[in-house]
């Protein structure tokens, strides 16, 4: 293994390049601008497409054009600018186009603040576009995962012909950590039977989101949801930490899960049986596993750097089990000690001596 000190944003950029991304369209925004800066330097040299678009609306639509014609596109952006892409994402889902979007969260709502936050969970997982659709969302928790899950994002996008989000945040984006640029580990996926590649010698193909009748539209959406069912059955990823005998399980995603792990260690030293659970795929959400854990754990605490978004998915998953929340919208990341205090408070009802 040859480790190098790599910045989270650069990890995503180089991993996208290694995954075969051949067209990148984006408009700069803090805290993800290094992705474009890096790809701007290497894409043209490799005869691949790099466009600094005039807006985020343009960049997502350029991705649609690239994907429809057989390209492997990516765009990257943050929070308020991801908002501008919602229409395009809804269209890309309807048209079943493989597009990878790296979303590096900053604080919102509105222009908010450039500092890290996790307040775009709902934006990524629930979406802001119209209609019935789902986007696969992968949330890395360290720099190596930025590489591994970027590879996976390209694979899943092509495998399911669906947009995939890499949901990072300003903290992972800006930090450096030893990691390794591994080779893209997935097989190539043949797209020759659906892309718009010129109709010489064959029937023309049409890729559009418009359905001519209500019935036809219902059939289209039904087919989409069959696909989502397959995704939900096969692509769930999560990480567990001391959950086996845990009375309390702290659920968190992305970079905050590091602090949660630290808090679990500290609590365990004090004899409190705590574990940590981290959904890696935010869609498909690991609901089944959480439900399973709810049969042995007495309580769940959801920790997020937002005012409570993933907590709703956790509540649905654990079907009536006790769920507490700790979080704030931005600023200093929830400190290990704050999480420990919250766990202790929750533990008060379980252990008599705390």
């Amino acid at each position: 293994m040859t480790l190098d000190l790599i910045k989270g944003n650069i990890a995503i950029a180089q991993a996208a390049f290694d995954a075969g991304c051949n067209s990148y369209f984006a408009y700069p925004i803090t805290p993800q601008s290094e992705i474009g800066e890096y790809l701007g330097a290497i894409m043209p040299k490799a005869n691949r497409v790099y466009v600094c678009a005039e807006s985020e609306i343009a960049s997502i639509n350029m991705c649609i054009g690239s994907a429809a014609t057989g390209g492997t596109p990516m765009t990257s952006s943050s929070s308020c600018a991801i908002s501008l892409m919602q229409e395009g994402l809804s269209y890309a889902c309807a048209q079943e186009l493989p597009i990878v979007v790296a979303s590096v969260m900053r604080a919102g709502p509105g222009l908010g603040n450039i500092y890290p936050s996790q307040a775009d969970y709902n934006q990524a997982v629930k979406g802001g576009g119209n209609g019935d659709y789902n986007i696969i969302v992968l949330a890395p928790g360290n720099v190596q995962e930025c590489i591994d899950y970027t590879h996976r994002a390209f694979y899943l996008a092509k495998k399911y012909r669906n947009p995939v989000f890499i949901l990072s945040d300003g903290l992972i984006g800006q930090m450096m950590e030893p990691a390794e640029f591994t080779k893209y580990p997935y097989e190539d996926i043949d797209n020759s039977d659906w892309i718009l590649s010129g109709a010489k010698g064959r029937e023309p193909r049409i890729i559009r989101s418009l359905s001519e009748t209500g019935e036809m539209h219902h059939e289209r959406v039904k087919k989409l949801f069959q696909k989502y069912k397959t995704i939900e059955e096969n692509e769930v990823l999560y990480k567990e930490y001391f959950t086996d005998d845990a009375d309390i399980i702290v659920v968190s995603f992305g970079s905050l899960s590091r602090n949660v792990k630290g808090a679990v260690k500290k609590c365990r030293e004090q004899g409190i049986k705590v574990g940590a659970f981290r959904p890696v795929t935010l869609y498909p959400f690991p609901s089944k596993k959480l439900y399973e854990l709810s049969k042995t754990a007495k309580k769940f605490i959801v920790a997020e750097m937002n005012m409570g978004q993933m907590i709703n998915d956790v509540k649905v998953a654990v079907k009536g089990a006790d769920v507490d929340f700790i979080g704030r919208s931005a600023g200093d990341w929830l400190d290990i000690d704050e999480i420990v205090d919250c766990v202790k408070e929750s533990a008060g009802g379980i252990y008599a001596n705390i």
Binding site: L3, L5, T30, P31, I114, Y115, N142, G170, L171, Q174, M175, M176, E177, P178, S255, R258, N259, K261, G262, K265, D332, W333, D335, I336, D337
Partner: protein, 181 residues
């Protein structure tokens, strides 16, 4: 055990690079390490800092409320960041630029005239690397011998003179003997 080190100074003094080199040294010593910069409207002349967390296991929190070791190259960052240093922590202050080193608690304070040392080498831009040399003395179990190659990689071949100057700067920092406390 996780330990965090904050390196702070004016934008342009090279504190981010100083932190990156330190993080790389930890990596070469098979430690787990993270480097996290303050980012935003910071610019040349403004206050900049970066935080390095080093551990034998995967680093948990990369940005901590309290600091184990603080290296400050200017007065603003000394004033701003020294209150967060733990009581058993250590502060290295660039005494060439920090005149007021009063602290509200008894913390081990190492005063080193780092900017003056850089001027004695003939290049003020070596301040960050001299500082790293001074800082390196706090880590008994870390092998800093990889630093020559790290510094050489920072410069193109035609500027190898600058690489050598920076290696010399690091050695100068290492030789610094703080007054007995």
């Amino acid at each position: 055990m996780e330990k965090n080190i904050i390196i702070a100074g004016f934008g342009g003094q090279g504190v981010l690079l100083c932190g990156k080199i330190l993080a790389k040294i930890f990596m070469l010593n098979n430690k787990k390490v993270t480097w996290y910069p303050c980012y935003g409207s910071e610019m040349r002349g403004g206050a900049v800092n970066c935080e390095i967390v080093v551990s034998d296991e995967e680093v948990t929190s990369v940005h901590k409320k309290q600091t184990d070791i603080l290296l400050t190259l200017n007065e603003i960052s000394f004033k701003k960041l020294s209150p967060n240093v733990k009581k058993d922590g250590i502060i290295i202050a660039n005494s060439s630029m920090i005149k007021n080193t009063s602290l509200n608690k008894a913390i081990r304070l190492i005063k080193a005239p780092i900017s003056d040392m850089a001027l004695s080498l003939g290049n003020i831009k070596t301040t960050n690397i001299i500082a790293l040399g001074v800082l390196s003395k706090l880590f008994d179990n870390i092998d800093f011998s990889g630093i020559s190659n790290i510094i050489k990689d920072l410069f193109p071949k035609e500027k190898s003179m600058l690489a050598n100057l920076n290696i010399e700067a690091f050695m100068l920092g290492c030789k610094f003997k703080p007054e007995a406390i």
